[in-house]
Amino acid sequence: MTDSTHFPSDACDKRSWWHKLSWAFDRNSTTNRPKQPTVATELSIAGTLKRGDFCLQLNDTLPLHGITALFGRSGCGKTSLLRAIAGLDRHPEAHIHFGSTPWQHGKHFLPVHQRRIGMVFQESSLLPHLSVKQNLLYGYHRLSKTSPRHLQPAQVIEWLELAALLPQKPEQLSGGQRQRVALGRALLSQPQLLLLDEPLASLDQQSRNEIQPFLQRIARQSGIPMLLVSHQLDEVVKLADQLVLMQDGRIHSQGPLPQQLLRPELAAIGAMSLLYANSSGCQGHLLQLTIGEQQLQLPAPLHSTTAAPASIKPVSYRLRIQARDVALSLQPLTDSSVSNQLQVRITGFNPAPHPAETLVQLDLAGQPLQALLTKQSVERLGLQLGQLVYAQVKAVALD
């Protein structure tokens, strides 16, 4: 372990006098921060959230495992919902329960600093008068003595590759680095729920690509449930496990991401499918993947600095497939360059945004897949519900 990752060591780690004093004042109420992590599997929210003329009607329960995306157009109330959950805005007509713990119910309102949430804001929110290291430890040092520390600074610094940044000031960092520090800072406060308010929206594409793998890695390795606000479908499909679709001042629908992608509202933005596949190793430079009984071969991702080391390569992959990259044939093709052919069953036909096209819903070993075909092709092949056909997948994005 190097000096820079050794905690706690120097003067900035020591609790200052005001800290101890504030502790006595701020925590003398009976509603102390819970000392044990509440094991909650769902967050329920009911009532009305009002902000100016805008009004959000809710009576929903959100799952608390993996990454849950709150998705919708700008201004549909995603951020308002997230701020209400955090307790940053107070809505007298809403009830919020974290598992069985009331966060807001009638006159009872658990203050933000006692909710044990982590939050990453859209724009950079590092405290400018503190170094990166002091920012990282701001929440960590405010944990009560008895509360568990599941995540250690050294570990978070390693995950987010922050070691080199520790002595710097926030103003010296790039946008992507700042969001990484903000994420690490939130994680080190040992949250029971991580709230991400479009954490990538203010970043350029390169920084975005740089942070996404970190988010996935952290969701997998920390086990902390996350609520991710986003208005970018490709970002959601890369990261989320569940999708909550918000529309017209309410939650329109929610469910596992692969199933949610079939909804016409999402298909209109970008018809695509998400498949989960297991890898059975590499042959040559081709990654061998299985979905149920079926096989796929894809060029193995080249080793990059942000990817996990080869020794702990994930065995499970997420495959993003655009509906227009899927073709259907009645027989397996032998004289085609497309080598990934999957036997699928037709489960439905949905209208596509373009009147000449149809979205064909397919079932691949229990997972949904969509193909965008012209209506003419559907008629020519005589495709029908329940029919077994072969899907040729021309392009796949691996996550």
Binding site: W18, D26, H113, L126, P128, Y138, L173
Partner: protein
């Protein structure tokens, strides 16, 4: 060269005491007031802000006149004090201290208000989500981020009290050791045609005021931050 009389020294001492007390009291009163004003826009806030700014535009004599009525033996405050067996506050150090506090209030509130507004709500939201309670937020976020605002507010308040004249003359008169501050003494010296003595004190004040303002503007530049990065 410089030959200050005992009376001059007494006035200098009294002036510094008045400035120091005013600054301390105003930092304690002005901080919560400025904080409250920074929390949003409402009719009540606008009214209070206008009230705070009144001493900027009113002739000091108007302020001094009403304070004299209020704190004097027949005023609401002074009269009550007399009834309770205390002395009324006109022509006393406590009286001119109250006058100074009201007169210099905008010079404390404005810089603080500006620096609170510039900081915005976000740093405190961040601190809350990281487990910091109210008092903890004040010490670990507000004070360090608004340090410039506090220093400017304190310096301006001090300097403005240094230059106070009208209110003190109306309310306190010119009692050596009690209400005779530098500005009043200079006036007295001039009235008595002691030009050389008036000159010494005036030049001293001028230089002191310039130095203080120079420091304020220097600090303003140095602390011209407070936004999140």
């Amino acid at each position: 060269m410089i030959e200050l009389t005992a009376q001059d020294w007494q006035a200098i001492q009294l002036t510094l005491k008045l400035c120091l007390y005013t600054t301390l009291i105003l930092l304690l009163l002005g901080t919560p007031l400025a904080w409250w004003l920074a929390q949003g826009q409402s009719r009540v806030r606008t009214a209070i802000q206008a009230l705070v700014a009144l001493p900027l535009v009113l002739p000091p004599t108007v302020l001094g006149f009403y304070l004299l009525l209020l704190l004097g033996p027949h005023g609401a405050v002074g009269g009550t004090l007399e009834q309770l067996g205390f002395h009324h506050l006109a022509f006393s150090f406590t009286g001119i201290l109250i006058g100074s506090v009201i007169y210099s209030l905008p010079f404390t509130v404005q810089p603080l208000l500006e620096s609170f507004r510039r900081m915005g709500p976000r740093p405190l939201e961040v601190a809350q989500t990281l487990g910091a309670g109210k008092l903890d937020q004040l010490f670990s976020v507000v004070l360090p981020l608004c340090r410039g605002g506090f220093i400017v507010a304190a310096t301006l308040t001090f300097a403005h009290t240094l230059g106070e004249f009208g209110v003190i003359l109306m309310l306190g008169g010119s009692i050596p050791g009690e209400t005779q501050v530098l500005s009043v003494l200079i006036y007295d010296h001039t009235e008595a045609m002691n030009y050389s003595q008036a000159h010494q004190l005036s030049l001293g004040l001028l230089i002191a005021a310039f130095v203080v303002l120079f420091i304020v503007y220097g600090l303003n530049k140095r602390f011209d931050r407070g936004q999140l990065t």
